[in-house]
Symmetry: C2
Subunit: 572 residues, 2 copies
Amino acid sequence: MNIQNIDLSSYPNSEKFYVDGKLFPIKVAMRKVHQYPTVKIENGKRIEYPNEDIILYDTSGPYTDSNLNVDINKGLPRMRESWVEERKDTMILDDITSEYGRMRRDDKSLDSLRFPICHKPRCAKEGKRVTQMHYARKGIITPEMEYVAIRENLDNEARGIKTYITPEFVRDEVASGRAIIASNINHPEAEPMIIGRAFSVKLNTNIGNSALSSGIEEEIAKAVWSCYWGGDTLMDLSTGDNIHETREWIIRNCPVPVGTVPIYQALEKVNGDVSKLTWDIYRDTLIEQCEQGVDYFTIHAGVLKEHAELVKKRLTGCVSRGGSIMTEWCVIHNQQSFLYEHFDEICEILNKYDVAISLGDGMRPGSINDANDEAQFLELDVLGELTMKAWSHDVQVLIEGPGHVPINKIKANMEKELKVCHEAPFYTLGPITTDIAPAYDHITSAIGAGIIGTLGTAMICYVTPKEHLSLPNLEDVREGVIAYKIAAHAADLAKGFPGAQVRDNALSKARYEFRWKDQFNLSLDPEKAKRFYLESRRDAPDADDRFCTMCGPNFCAMRISQNIVDKCQENA
Amino acid sequence: MNIQNIDLSSYPNSEKFYVDGKLFPIKVAMRKVHQYPTVKIENGKRIEYPNEDIILYDTSGPYTDSNLNVDINKGLPRMRESWVEERKDTMILDDITSEYGRMRRDDKSLDSLRFPICHKPRCAKEGKRVTQMHYARKGIITPEMEYVAIRENLDNEARGIKTYITPEFVRDEVASGRAIIASNINHPEAEPMIIGRAFSVKLNTNIGNSALSSGIEEEIAKAVWSCYWGGDTLMDLSTGDNIHETREWIIRNCPVPVGTVPIYQALEKVNGDVSKLTWDIYRDTLIEQCEQGVDYFTIHAGVLKEHAELVKKRLTGCVSRGGSIMTEWCVIHNQQSFLYEHFDEICEILNKYDVAISLGDGMRPGSINDANDEAQFLELDVLGELTMKAWSHDVQVLIEGPGHVPINKIKANMEKELKVCHEAPFYTLGPITTDIAPAYDHITSAIGAGIIGTLGTAMICYVTPKEHLSLPNLEDVREGVIAYKIAAHAADLAKGFPGAQVRDNALSKARYEFRWKDQFNLSLDPEKAKRFYLESRRDAPDADDRFCTMCGPNFCAMRISQNIVDKCQENA
């Protein structure tokens, strides 16, 4: 298999580098953007003032390390394997546990689709819990914790920017449940990252085929592509054929934590017939995915039988796939949700692999009209109850949030989540702030995401321009990721996150000094910024004029502004 | 001259219609979107339930009235001409007053560029003030006031939605200065609209050539195009050749109020040499434009000589073109700004034509770093002082606002503006909430615009994806307008503006019922929504499947949700 033709060279004049750990022999990946000097003419002489490198948080993984050659048939380096091993609380299993997993493995007809290398799964030793929360609560700092502490701080120390983020702080946040490090012991390829409101706001991207489209190569390309542009985590929402094999390819090649919604695959296993779903099938699916290396599961355990009636009151019913499936199951069988009933058992499976639970919001509003209604908030109460339960098993928890919410109702969502879910990290889809803009829902929702991120949401789930209309293609993924990088970064600035403003200041300085290339290179999408600039400057491909076509040479405020400064200095 | 090839047929299954005034013989333009029926199968029978028409605020003018044939060489119908005439406080001038205007008119070499019809300018009779504010303060309700009252309310009355917007309320808001109806007596082609925080949030678009690009045909196309997609007002920021002639074409063909920044043209008149700017040249430019029909002028009269020093303290100096020009002028001449010194005289010119003043924020921050600084807020204080002065001449006022502002500093801008500018309507550019996304600044700023609109900003000035990089083309204009329609509408929803949610509810109901065509037709950009849908459904161009490719047929939550409702009903 080859990676589809995607261009991973859009970050010019920059390089990947690694910062060494102090507690552990770890190497934390970051990106460094070099800048051109500021040129001034002083007393008729051209003088160059150097501009410092700008250090960026980098989610793109080994793909953008020019010293590494990634072969997707081999998968990424398994960095965390030794870290896990050294804890001595896990064992390698002789065989995979899931019945379905074994069946797929033994099916020769799938050989051509299969990831070529078989890694035996790892599991906690009998009686052990191997979650980051478990270690944190015991007072242990793991390499994962030091990794994220260094990663969040970039070069703040060298710059003299005060930060509160130390490995100890990370440990305490994880111990309290206010942050999570999603890191399945079977996904050692992932670079550790942290989700919590004391840290930089993260963004999740979704990929995955549906019955109607997309092959494995395309999904791998989307996965790599979304990390490349800035996705912090990746959900594989596949519902089509060969979910198992597609997922293996994705996990082995994904440098960020991978999430899934196991009920999707469970439903595929019963050919889409909701009535045939059982706890046993679901349980086997969980284990299958735990052993492949999924880092977090969306589990709609908060949708109860009692909530079904509330769907009727809504304009747009239940718009969560998982939520609607579970509600239908409850109604068909007139039984309580098996996810709710078996929640302790789920936790006991997950803490053997360190898979986090993302408590799904099956009743998230699908329209402005349904925002903050009874169905939504009753479910949130249940999620709070389940959070305490998961924590009692040392399982890390995220709380999923809406959905469609008008701006004036966003704050209540954040406040209620913090209160009833005991400050577990909130992970919201948008929210989308108006229903009337299909084809632009990356924008309707970036508004909501920026606001709720500022208020304390730890991770925002991207929405692409194709939301409500069809599956995103590569270009849509890029648009969606950048819209959400914007929302996340705007929230970091607003929160006063240590060091967040360094990049803004550097880019603005470059802009003011007409260092066009630096302005592009420091931006979220250097390729597009440069392309837009050159569209109207085809005669000047070197891009170093002291104006742009927007105002033209006579009306450039920034140039005039520099004249003013010069004149004030002369007058002084 | 022909209008460039732009497609004005993107609003399918809808029609323009007109609502009659009650006080005046006026016809208020709106758009009506027809919907398909909801189809249900009941007891094996197919039953159709009709869905009502949805009424939309329409800024596109006569161009989308299928009963009218607009010829841009004749200009739009001069609807307001008789309204103005009947007030009997104006007269038609024998000749145009501006010296420069006469010079251009007499220059035969410009004949080929000239708008073919010459309308003689109108001016207030000696001693008269003809502004909407003047009438309002006298207790008079004008046809313009009734027009906007009807326009803001759409079909709220028929729907039983409570509203506070009556012609009397409009009058009182205009009298107090809290809202403006920008309506030069020489632009009778414009459909009246109101800008104030008690009304729906408006959006301004910018067009205009620079020395480097764009001809007249292209600018007319951009003007029509921006109104078509939803622009409420239009600023012509031209700085290139033939500003005078271009403006005439635009005004005669523009169904929305037109604004300019007169200092741009004044500077062109002195060949870009700031030192040569004089009050006389500026004054003649004001009169030239008043008589052409410009509805509001951005005037950077709040930038004072004393502020020049503050520019030095900033990361990105002064990024307002007008602000930097005036600051440079003050520094060069070591004199107080002639705009500030002659402000009363400016007002006495403007109230003879009813041109509103948009007090420019010459010191708006151009980077996150410079937000809410001394330079910005000192200028705002001056704008407050000038507001009182303008009002004493019955001149309507807008206050322009930032700029680059992080989310956490937005609220202070709105609060300070309301306080020091006596609740004059705030008109903000964005604000842009992070500096790091050139090529996506329609998004960085839609976030800020949505927030500040919710807080009470009356009009938001659009930003296109090309901001900071180059002049926008037609596609950029469309992207910018839609991003800002989203921000404005999200703010209307959040403010609880009467009737705002009708469209969201209708679209969401259509979405839930898989009435794809209605979902497209009710959206801000029906063409793009449909195109995105069909991209992955080429086999099903009729677009009425009960799912989309995002989830595929088995996983459509909305369909499952309807099963749940059905089952609940069976069980009941």
